[in-house]
Symmetry: C2
DNA sequence: AAGTGGTCTAGACCACGTT
DNA sequence: ACGTGGTCTAGACCACTTG
């Protein structure tokens, strides 16, 4: 439907198929605008997308080039993901198990993270995820009850995010994350089967709605030997 | 000079000063285009920048709003930074100390990360950073010698990145990072003064040039109690 | 000098929310 | 019905690189 998106898709496909080889020029914007029967502005907008994805780079006066290793880096723009054995996880059995599900008044730290008043309650959920029967991560999650009315344990087992999007009509606007190495707690030792001197990778996260309202605070505590956090950081603005 | 950038700067300033309050509408694009004497397309491009920075969000048919907590999240778009005591580090003495500086043939892993051939040499640099006399991080860094001809220990103590930009005329195009919690090595225990069961936060990083050439491979090993990694992730494309 | 990508315009139509 | 932001055009000028 949207022209610049369709053009971006086609060019991306050509790069992936090798029709536009890495480290070479692709046709200039005027040529492409004639090929696709659109204005040059529309072609440029398509190119902006591919540049944000890290597939191409442009030199004024020179032309538009396919990056070396475009295919390696071609994961979604600014994608961030956990990686571990999760990578080749297709054949494994992934389980989620709720350890606890309560409503409570949060402590000061969580109140500040979620921008709540003194008497605003939150859901406090602790879940353990196992892969192939082995523990992987414990997630401690807090939602303001006011934002997710009618949350049940059943919904938790499906997708809270889908529920919010479908039933409440809300969208996400980003997240703040903090990653640390920490020593295992008693909780970690019990559920993650950590040894005393096994480190734990903790990802602390505040997720926001589109309008900036804090919506979820969570801490994921990951076994050090099975999970890592990866970031693809693409330079967006040249000076 | 560039109009849409100047307009973005002015609007950003108004948000920061509270002239456009959080969680309220700002003037529509037609009004703003009249105020600044530009076309609406130019105003929209300015708004695109502020949306990427997480300061505003837009609803078709409704208008453009300042996000809640715009000022909190207003750190540079997609900024990533180490944080720790580094936060309030203005008053402290930061030192860097080179532990070793060699040229060698890299092992397979580094050869793959830097996309090198069998006989391409690299600089192998190990540096320790101290704050207020206490060890903070050990950085193991590898550069292909072919990309940084004439690197000296003196340049290392200033800024390698500036040297590359100034003297070699090269620009950066992004990075790939992987963050893990690991157990301390003998090296860590010796230089970071880690105890046997202190975890270490390792940041593995491949930095690329603008054209996609891998340029630096490094591993930073951080004391767990003084450093963490933070990420601001802003949603860019709504579906 | 020619060709490239970056910016900007004035106007048009559309999709969507609000009224 | 009206106002909003999103897309798109045809053409213009500029900054820059390359021959």
């Amino acid at each position: 439907m949207i022209k610049y998106e369709m053009i971006a898709n086609k060019i991306r496909e050509r790069i992936q198929k090798g029709e536009y080889a890495e480290d070479t020029l692709i046709p200039d914007q005027v040529t492409l605008s004639k090929e696709f029967g659109v204005s040059r502005m529309t072609v440029k907008k398509a190119m902006d997308i591919l540049a944000m994805e890290g597939l191409i780079f442009r030199k004024r006066g020179s032309g538009t080039y396919v990056k070396k290793n475009a295919l390696l880096n071609s994961s979604d723009s600014n994608a961030m993901e956990y990686e571990g054995l999760t990578k080749q996880l297709s054949g494994y059995k992934v389980e989620g198990k709720a350890i606890s599900f309560n409503v409570e008044f949060p402590d000061e730290k969580i109140r500040e993270a979620l921008q709540l008043e003194k008497n605003d309650p939150v859901y406090n959920i602790v879940r353990l995820r196992l892969v192939d029967g082995k523990p992987y991560v414990i997630e401690h999650t807090y939602f303001p009850t006011a934002l997710v009315p009618g949350l049940t344990e059943e919904i938790l087992n499906k997708s809270v995010y889908e529920f919010i999007h479908q039933n409440l009509g809300l969208s996400f606007g980003g997240a703040y994350r903090k990653i640390q190495a920490v020593k295992p707690s008693e909780y970690d030792k019990k559920y993650l089967a950590c040894q005393e001197n096994d480190p734990v990778l903790e990802v602390e996260q505040i997720v926001h709605l589109e309008d900036g309202t804090p919506f979820e605070y969570s801490r994921s505590r990951n076994r050090y030997d099975t999970r890592s956090y990866t970031i693809v950081d693409i330079q967006r603005r040249q000076k």
